[in-house]
Each structure stands twice: as C-alpha cells, then as structure tokens.
Symmetry: C2
C-alpha cells in the first residue's frame, strides 16, 4: 500500500513537470526552496478550479458576496487577529547535530502525541519525559522550545523601523472581517450572509514540504458566513454538505475523504465545532479543507482593537448583536494536488499501458485538441478553421507534431476530454473524427454539426 | 474642463465606495496609505476583466500559453533583472520643510523636463540650475538626490540576515523569462510564441496616488512574445492593434486613448521601440498600457547570471539563437479605473437625473437583477425560481427592498444590463418584465421563454 502510494506521488510529480502543470520556481538559479510555479496547464487547471469554486459557493447563492483585500494591510489588523503575538511554530534545535525542528512534528512522529495548544514549557516537558530522539542523529538533548512568528515582515516607505513595519497576510480571512462594516452598509445583504475571498497568503513555515501540499506562498479560497448567535448547527451542516458536494464535482472519490471532527479538548478556545476534511494523499491522510464555527471571536477582537462598532442590527426585529461566523476554508494548491492524484490512472490498451488524467470536463485545461493527421498544408486550412470554431466553446489545444497515436497519448496525459482529428478524408466528406478520452471511442461528425455536437457534450 | 474632470473623479470614487466596488483598506484601523480593497462588485468586475483578457490574449491564440510564478522567487532573479541594483526612485528632501519628493516628479511638474534615464548627479544639476522650488514650502534647497530601491524586502526562514533576504516581485515578467526553458521543453510551442501571466506585483513607491491608479500593491496582466531577432515590426504592430481592439471591447472610447511613441533618445538602451498607450484620466493623460520591443535583453541577462543555455533551436532550420521579445503590459487596477470613468454617465429621465454605469455586458458585475415588486410571500416563489434560472446564465442579483424605482436606479448605478421584475400579474400570466439599462425599454416575456430570450441578449 505504502509502496504503491509512493509511486503515485512520484508519477504525478513527473507528469506535472513534464507536461507543464508544475515547475520548480526559479529553476535556472537552482530553485527556491519549496516554491513552485504553475506552467501552462497548471494555470488553466487552477483558474478552472477557482472559477468553479466561485460559481459554486458565491454566485449560486443570493446571500454570498466577494471581496479582494490587500496582501499588505494595516499592521494593527494582525495585532487584533493575534497573528503578531501568537501565530507561530514552536521550534527546538538538536544540541548534538544542530538541526532545527518543529516541536509538534517530532513529538507527533515519534510518540504520536498531539501537542496543539500546549505551551512551550509543556512541550519541553513532553520532550524530556518521553526521551524523544532527534529524527536526524538520535540524540535526546534539545534546546528550550521557542516561538517563531510565521508572518513575513517587510517595511513600507523609505525608513526601515518599527513604525514602517508591515506584514504579508498570513491568511485571507481578516479581509472579510475588516470589510464587514462596509459590506453591511453597501451591499444590502442581511444576516445570514457570507463574504468570500480567493487570494494569496504567506507563512514563513519552518518545515514546508510534500510538494505543493505545504508551501510558504499559497492560495486560499474561503468564506465567513455570518449568522445569528443562536443558530449555528443548521448552516454548519449545510456548508459541510456543500463542501462534500463540491469534492464530488471536482472528482475526489468519497472513500478518500474523511471528516475529522476535532475533539472538544483540542478545539481552539473560541470554536464550538471544527471539522477537518482529510484526504488520502499518497503521503498519508492529511487535512485538505476545514470548516469551523468561530462564534464572534474575530469580530469581537476587531471591536476591541479598533473601537469601531461592528455589531449588526436586524432590520425586522431591531435586535442588535455581534454576528457569529462559520468559516469554510480551502487550500487551493493542495486541492489541485488531490485532484491530480485522484484523476491519475493507468489503463491497458491492448499490450500497451496508457496514462490518463481523468479530469472532470470543467477542470480540464483543454476541453478539446485539434490534431491534423499530417502537417501537409492542405489539412491546415480545415484544422485551423475547426480550432477557431472550438476555441469559442472552450479552451482548445492545437498539435500537429509526431504520430497521431503519440498525440492521443499526450492529450490523455493532460486530461483533454475530446480529440478532434482532421484527416485527408475531411477534404472529401467535410467531417472530422472525435475521440473520447475515457472510452477511446471514435465518432465521425460533419464540421457543420460539430458545434452542436460538442455543446451537447459540454 | 479641469473642473468637470475633477468632479468625474470624485463621482466615480463616491459611487465605487457607496456601491461596493472599492473600499479603503483596513478602514476600521484608519486605513493603510494608498491601499484599497475591492468590495463585492469590484471583485466581480476585476474577475470579468481578467477572464476576458485571458480569453482574448491567451486562449484565442494557438501560440500563447500562461504561467503563474511565485511572488517570492530566488533573489538572484532580481539581481539578474537589474531590480536589486538599479530599480528605484531618485529622492530628494527639502532642507527647509523636510518633505521628501521624487526628483523626477518635481522637475517634471515645475519645469516640464523629463529626466528618465538621467543620473543622480545630472538630476541634482537640473534642480540647482533651474532653481526648482519645493512644492510644499517654496524653498530651493534640496538634499543630494539618492537612489531608493523599490523592491519590498523580507526574510525567508528563521534567521534574518543577508543570506535569507528575499524580495516581493516588482514585476511579473521575470516569471516568464525564468520559465522560458521549461516551457520550450514541455509545451511544444515554437517561436514565435508567447507566455502570459496575470498576478500581483509590489513596489515600495514613495509617491503612490490618484486613487487606484498607482498603488504599492497592484496586479499586472502581461505577456512576453518571443520572436526571431530579424522580425519584430509585424508582431509589434499586430499586438498594438490587438491592444486597441481590446480597449474597444472593454468600452474605452477611441478619442480618450493616445499612442505615445517614446522618442529614441528616451528609450531604455535595450528597447528599439516602446509605445505607451495613454488614457485621458480625470487627472490628466497618463500611461494606461505599454508595449515594448526589448530585443534579447532579458534572456541574455539571465543567461549571463544563471549560466544556463536559454537559446532556442529552430526545429526546421536548426538555427540556434536567443529569441527577442515584444512585451505588452496592462495595469489591471488602472484599467478598471479607466473602465469606470468611461462607463460613468448621467442621464435626464424626465426631470430627474439618473446615474448609469454603461459597462459592456461581459464586464458588468451582475448581468441580471431579479426584483420582486413587493416582499409579499406569494411573489417570492416565482422570483426565486427566476433567480435560479438566470443564475445559470450569468451572475444575477436579487433585491427586494425599497421602491421599484429606487431599485432600478441602483441597478443602473452598478451597471446591470437587465432588470427582471416579478409582479402580481406574474401570478396570472406567468410572465415577467425585462427592463433594459440603456434604453429603459420594458418588455414582457413569458417565464418559460426567458432563458432563450436572455441567451440571445448575451
């Protein structure tokens, strides 16, 4: 099992690199640790995923709106949110080999204890008491644990001092809370309603890793759903069910998803319920998405720090209160990884194996590929004409190099649902061959019926 | 003229704020200087603009591909590009009032001389020779000009030292150059072909301003079109013409756009031709977009710094060369501002004036708004049913508060092309009223014919 999954990860990474989904960042300079760029197909996949998410969670609900807030906000936002004071990893150094580790990681790996919420002192005691060994050299002598802040710091303006210090946002959620008042005033939405955002966040992680699963720079899609304090169970279940429906739409198999209801004693003090939706990645069952009922913690902190009135007055009952929130969160890159791992498959075609990325139509970077059978100029006119026609229906590839068999395999590998072949018969019958990625069935269709035929498939 | 335009800027800003296009960032904390957040309608407008750009410049060409590169790249990228050494503003302080200015700005404002490309020493001489006055206090005694680097600096990892220093990207273009080799190897595109990217960039500007025109954090849409060294005039003209076609599609009037061909003596040393497309903003004629023929400057710098072979071998002729590039660049936020300024208009309807945002259909945040005539529950069923139907066709608003007249005005102000009113007659004739934003003409349409009717309008 472990072996098989190890291979899957390697295969997905190799395909992603060779076909232009994901490249190492700055590779000509030896790369940038744990940083990845999206290539031509990766951008299309990511855009499709983000657009689908926005349509599903925002535009399909008449009580959901979006924001796009700044990455470098007023630093007081991060004081209020607790990120400047408390947002960090607890680190220890091995005194023998000098390697540095996240204390929670080595404790969890070595003695399977979860230390979330524990103080540095408690962590230190756990390390000593359990004689936890250094994963690198086996020694049991660590430095005192110390907090390391995860926010990237920079300076705005000419002078580098404390007054000009600012941070790259460590999450997108604060942009929803700081804009809550303006949105209530201008959007005419009434509680319950939600504010969504998709955007980049940055965390100076000590131990990023597992390819695009955990990186220092990453994209989050999430929303804050504002509710009356008394009524959280129903919307919590509603959005949790919607998250599973979305998982289904993007092709994540049900049996690879696991709802992990965080036990009461491990919940953050402000949360009444948090569910991690975990996915069976090749490197283990890990958090993919989460949904948390955070009560009024965030708005109340901003009221305390900003002295602004962020309460809400119900226009029907005139009741005034600070809304509570339910927060569904999605890591975009790790969702892409889950999609790639789920879509990857190998078939036998006769004696030969083929690799197919069984991406859902909506996510596939190219919906169609136009493949002229030969590079001879008499086919080019027809092929380009078909390409122009199909490009209006959806993103369409054009490939005229190598044998038709190799080109089919390549389109299978990048998940293109339909290949349209233009051949010498086309010059006589004005028809093309449509080949289905999954069934490999071929259908002959007249060019003037192509648009209708493919629109039906979409 | 100046007065009229001043009012336009104020009106656009007021509308953008009151209707939820643009809010000041972190406003509950007194804001963050020159930083803006997009509200619910601003996000939709920006997403529509970016998707249209991508469709127009990337997906509609079979030789264009995309990338999405990291914001924090290997810092050597910025040494190679010249940003670490040379990317900056020249600043002076007024010795009397202590205010700090960009030297090029005060020289340009006071004596209308363009100092682009001049050294600090030359700038100092111009200030002294022309007795340039301080814009704040009128004194003529400035400090020596000095270079201020525009890259935001941060540190990656636990230790803050020179080795861990990294930068937020000051432009997106380097991501296309650093990925050039990987894309040639994996995408099967042949010169001429282009690599496009839309993403955030950051510049620690000393004097940002003019609302969302110049901000420290901003989004760029641009591409590098790689060509054979000998053949640059035709593609240059091709993309310049396409930029104007795009301007037309997004509703920028031809008479407000001006091609400014940068004179030879002011061109960057590596550029053979650069055209700034300027737009008549309310605060003056300013650069909106640009297109530059940069020869092989960028790839050659990366070859020099990385020692990698970034040349291209033509598969037909076997000729090996370093491709040249043509680079069209678009500032996303300033394009949004140009769109808002162009779309803003005031009509007289009888004795009353109304404000209309005449946005093109593709850009409008909402394509439709469903307006039940009253909040009575018997209308809600029909109205929600219509909303669900229309939401599948395009983003649709739902508004049931205030008089129908006020709701029409609100939808006019946010640019919604069609309002669909559900009234008590609907209960009998199963029809709704469609109102056209621009003509205000009303048409009665059966609900079961609505989808076809509106699809035709789209």
């Amino acid at each position: 099992m472990a072996n098989k999954d190890d291979k899957l990860m390697e295969k997905v990474q190799t395909l992603a690199r060779n076909r232009g989904f994901v490249y190492p960042d700055s590779e000509i300079y030896g790369g940038m640790a744990n940083t990845w760029d999206l290539g031509p197909l990766g951008v299309e996949l990511k855009n499709n995923l983000k657009q689908l998410w926005w349509k599903f969670f925002v535009q399909s609900h008449d009580n959901m709106v979006g924001v796009d807030s700044a990455i470098i906000m007023n630093p007081r936002v991060w004081e209020a949110s607790g990120h400047v004071g408390e947002f960090g990893d607890v680190l220890v150094d091995c005194k023998k080999c000098q390697n540095r580790f996240r204390a929670d990681h080595i404790i969890e790996e070595v003695i399977q204890i979860d230390v979330e919420g524990k103080t540095s002192k408690e962590i230190s005691e756990i390390l000593t008491k359990n004689k936890v060994k250094c994963p690198s050299c086996g020694a049991t002598d660590f430095t005192e644990p110390r907090q390391f802040n995860l926010l990237f710091k920079t300076h705005v303006g000419v002078i580098e001092d404390d007054k000009s210090a600012a941070y790259l946002r460590g999450e997108t959620a604060q942009g929803m809370f700081t804009n809550f008042k303006n949105i209530v005033a201008t959007s005419r939405k009434r509680v319950p309603f939600g504010i969504a955002q998709i955007g980049k966040a940055f965390r100076n992680e000590i131990t990023p890793g597992n390819y695009i699963f955990r990186t220092r720079e990453f994209e989050i899609a999430e929303f804050e759903y504002f509710i009356h304090p008394g009524d959280w169970e129903k919307p919590f279940e509603f959005w949790l069910a919607n998250m599973h429906e979305f998982a289904d739409i993007i092709g994540l198999p049900k049996n690879k998803l696991h709802d992990h209801d965080i036990p009461k004693e491990k919940l953050a003090h402000y949360s009444k319920r948090t569910v991690d939706i975990e996915f069976d990645f090749p490197f283990g069952q890990k958090e993919l998405w989460g949904i948390a009922y955070r009560q009024d913690y965030d708005l109340s902190r901003h009221i305390e720090y900003s002295k602004e009135d962020l309460s809400y007055t119900d226009p029907m009952t005139s009741e005034k209160y600070v809304p509570h929130v339910i927060e569904p969160t999605f890591g975009v890159e790790r969702t892409m990884l889950a999609i790639l791992c789920s879509a990857y498959s190998e078939d036998m075609v006769g004696d030969e194996s083929r690799t197919v990325l069984r991406l859902p139509m909506t996510l596939a970077p190219f919906k169609f590929a136009v493949l002229p059978l030969s590079k001879k100029p008499e086919l080019e006119g027809n092929a380009k004409e078909v390409w122009t026609l199909l490009s209006k229906l959806g993103n369409t590839d054009y490939d005229e190099t190598q044998s038709i068999g190799k080109r089919y395999r390549r389109q299978d590998e990048i998940g293109t649902p339909y290949c349209i072949t233009v051949d010498f018969e086309t010059l006589e019958d004005n028809a093309v061959t449509i080949r289905d990625r999954d069934t490999m069935k071929q259908t002959r269709v007249k060019i003037n019926e192509l648009e209708k035929h493919l629109t039906d498939l979409l």
